[in-house]
Symmetry: C2
Subunit: 346 residues, 2 copies
Amino acid sequence: MDSRSRTVTRIPVNAPTLADVAERAGVSRQTVSNAVNNPDLLRSDTLLRVQRAIGELGYVPNRAARNLRTRASHLVGLRMSPVLEGVATTVMDRFVHSLVWTSREAGYHVLLFSGEGPDPLEGYDDLLRSTAVDAFVVTDTYLGNPQAVWLRERRAPFVAFGRPWDDVEARHPWVDVDGAAGTELATRHLLDRGHTKVAWIGWRKDSRIGEDRRSGWSRAMHERGLSTTGLASRVEDSLGSGRDASAHLLDEAQPSAFVCASDTLAMGVLHTLADRGLHPGRDVAVVGFDDSQVAQLVHPGLTSVRQPLEEVAIAVVRSLEDLLATPSQVADGLLLSPTLVVRGTA
Amino acid sequence: MDSRSRTVTRIPVNAPTLADVAERAGVSRQTVSNAVNNPDLLRSDTLLRVQRAIGELGYVPNRAARNLRTRASHLVGLRMSPVLEGVATTVMDRFVHSLVWTSREAGYHVLLFSGEGPDPLEGYDDLLRSTAVDAFVVTDTYLGNPQAVWLRERRAPFVAFGRPWDDVEARHPWVDVDGAAGTELATRHLLDRGHTKVAWIGWRKDSRIGEDRRSGWSRAMHERGLSTTGLASRVEDSLGSGRDASAHLLDEAQPSAFVCASDTLAMGVLHTLADRGLHPGRDVAVVGFDDSQVAQLVHPGLTSVRQPLEEVAIAVVRSLEDLLATPSQVADGLLLSPTLVVRGTA
DNA sequence: GTGAAAGCGCTAACAG
DNA sequence: CTGTTAGCGCTTTCAC
């Protein structure tokens, strides 16, 4: 036996076709097609007759045939990045939920695929060339984003969740959340509550997102004439890094509050506080980023910046529709504002 | 040759077809088709020539055309249940990741869809009749699972992640994780460490999964001749419920350890301990269920039962392949064992 | 081993 | 407004 044996039996045994409906309704196939796709073209009595036949037969258009004919699949491709255990997949997952929901209302379904090992483009290429999807939603555009460049070169339709940071060539539509505005919000919240030494724990300097979020913190500090010297730390996004960085900052600069680039890092701060018998919120304030499940469940509740992912999904789908309706359209970007979810730690 | 007028500006501007490859290789279209699907049928030199032509043109078979012809989409449908904020979507999301990954290796992609409001079947019906997917993966079979019954009646191919608890009519393939074994593991772990009063906080009695997990706890207790009277609480799956239930149990029965049906409930226990100045792991032991991100990040690390979702995904895809290859096959069930991830709280 | 026909079910383009 | 014609790109007969 060959490994590629295509002996697949299909689901509905005798699904009715356009022809069946046409016969039953006493019209031509085209009229049935119109009844489905352009009801306005039919006279109301004909339409009614056809619709009744459709209902009686339980007719549903065959996707494959329609796709072949219209050269559209009504599918949007989304690449699932490899699972990063412990890292905030939360954001991504919440976004997927919203995207699926929003897409449905626009008549689209979401096709999930995963990267083939090292080359993140491989998955895109196959789906694109096989016309399996109409467009992509690209989510990981943070670093040099090879996907965006590659997709642009192939003139593949896609909308990015994430700004084309330093890619001046970029002409694609994108939607993003203003991270700096979020951390600024968080920092101001702390300053308003009397804190003056607010520390920052963020990501390494090569992360554009990290630097953006950091800028919100420093902007809010400088705005009030406060110094940020010695109050910032840049580490990798892990629990241990957050713990170590906060311990170090606490020793060296005695901040009374921390703003972090992620909930993971903020949880690291909570570990340090617990180790030292300090109470989050009472002794030292902590703010995270992403409003993950952890933030909601941990004692006494982690104050965190929340991205409006539902709105992002809506905007992405809207861009997608524009893009597919008018392929050569001028690309636009949209920057949404996050909110601060205040809980016990701040 | 057909002078095809590419009016539509879809993704690939000039996607080569079978005919293009055939012309370039100097063979017929069918030979190219065979080269792709049944390479064994070709003479090696012909095969090589065709493959070179395919490579040079960058030919990829058109999915819609192939789907129409073969009546298969190589797509698996998965319904995303509405987002339940705060509740462990973690499991589901981890599973989706694994499923996408495993499916790819089997030549399948995952199509996400969402329920249309109240009726959870609506989404299934459309996809099924329109031949958009070859089969479904059904994940929420916990309660009376209307989907399973409905899908069975339509003779729709599907594999369930979750047992057909009390559905004796069920003949579909399923994969599940032995929750009772997990809680038994957790309870034994505590008993081995000297605890004798291990309390249970689980879900309400109408949850089959909840009762199953509870049975593992009581089995382990009785096995050692320990009483479970007054040590169990059944509540809804929320942080507040876990907090209240644990406070009540602590007052009434003074347990030294808690086993919970979810990480959410376990986090509720941690809240109670924090409120009373008790230290998790040192004063009172706590074990959760699902090994969510929270368990990994909270101080001092929540010991939790972890479901082998990667294995589940592999088994599900394998069942899917069997099912699609041999539709009338006898259904089988597979029960996998979870593991205990030991951290600071136990 | 390879090629020639015959559609899968649908819709764009026209004709009536 | 409705019907007729002609494929979309592919694979499944069945000749050669």
